[in-house]
Symmetry: C2
Subunit: 205 residues, 2 copies
DNA sequence: ACCTGAACACCGTTCAAGT
DNA sequence: ACCTGAACACCGTTCAAGT
């Protein structure tokens, strides 16, 4: 066969196909991608840095879908809350991909720019520089922790035997179906309230 | 060869070997386990429910190492804080295993019992039953999110180009080396403060 | 019941050969 | 530069055969 006049493959199509496979199955393989694109397995390696490279492309694709305009809101805590929700929503759109994406940090410059802006936001609000990263990472913990909750195929308490753990079963019943969202709202609100108080303390000193 | 007089394999040794491999490499395979135990690959399948079964055994092993006595502390918020720290510490002892363990919930009854006790603790403290699960899941989000932070081989900001994201680099410098622990402390304290306030509101009504 | 040895389908990766 | 086709080492899983 040899080289075609117009390339059959490109990173964009490989990424899209991989994401489709992950959305469907929770995983992907290089041969599966090649099959869907009507191409030989080896061909994929001409466009991509191995399987890990494809995972990194998935990370970028999902991270890029975070609505960055949320960081334009004012005051600072509204901006932070909006960003956290957009961050979580981007992962929630691909729950089966979450285990694949969360393990490693995003390397894409465009995503690091979001963090740069968030740092600027907190500094402008009056947080001392040494406080900025702990605050930001704490928020990230809440976002990723709750995203993980969305990824689990079944919640811990769905396994619970009602006779062995009656109070757990009762509490679950009482919580209703939106427990994941309620928990995220609670954790986010707790974080914001704490951050606001911390900022006031800094201003008083 | 046939059946040996005394079994060469058991679930305990398989689990231990798998955990060793994961601690060293971040992953394991059934043939690797068999090789370390001087046994044929197929033999492992006589003791364990496939590769997924081994992962589940790892989950149980790590979850079992959570110090449950923390839940005996009083008042309720001290117990919850101690439990959260013990929970995180159990994962922190095997950072390379975290991606493997966090995806699915633990099915082991002994672990579900911990949740049962935590539910009881919150009910006794005065939380209305409908509030218990959101509170517990929010705490879980913080714990697992911060555990994920410990698992990352390199933090997001270690990748950051200081010239492209100068404020991020500056904030990182100012935060010092314990950013992960500081962030967890902050998120946990924020959660506890919020939960305390929530409880007071419930009592006033 | 428990281990061997061999088999099967699948995977990630590399690379000479072609255009 | 980009695709094919074949190769290699590895994986998860099954199973007849042995004791």
């Amino acid at each position: 066969m040899g080289r075609p006049r117009t390339p059959l493959l490109d990173r964009e199509r490989i990424t899209t196909t991989a994401l489709e496979l992950v959305d469907e199955q929770g995983e992907f393989s290089v041969p599966q991608i090649a099959r869907r694109l009507g191409v030989q397995t080896g061909s994929v390696y001409h466009h991509v840095d191995g399987r890990d490279g494809i995972v990194e492309l998935l990370r970028e694709r999902v991270a890029r879908s975070i609505d960055i305009t949320t960081l334009d809101a004012r005051p600072w805590d509204a901006a932070l809350a909006g960003w956290a929700r957009a961050y979580r929503a981007a992962f929630a759109a691909h729950p089966k991909a979450i285990p694949l994406l969360m393990t490693n940090p995003v390397r894409a410059p465009r995503v690091l720019q979001q963090y740069e802006r968030a740092v600027t936001l907190l500094q402008s609000a009056g947080f001392p520089t040494a406080e900025v990263m702990p605050v930001l990472v704490a928020l990230e913990n809440v976002v990723l922790g709750s995203a993980l909750d969305l990824a689990a195929p079944e919640a811990m308490w769905e396994i619970a035997d009602a006779s062995a753990t009656p109070r757990l079963a009762e509490a679950l019943d009482a919580a209703g179906p939106h427990r994941a969202d309620l928990a995220f709202d609670l954790a986010l609100e707790a974080f914001l309230a704490h951050a606001r108080r911390r900022l006031e303390e800094c201003r008083e000193e």
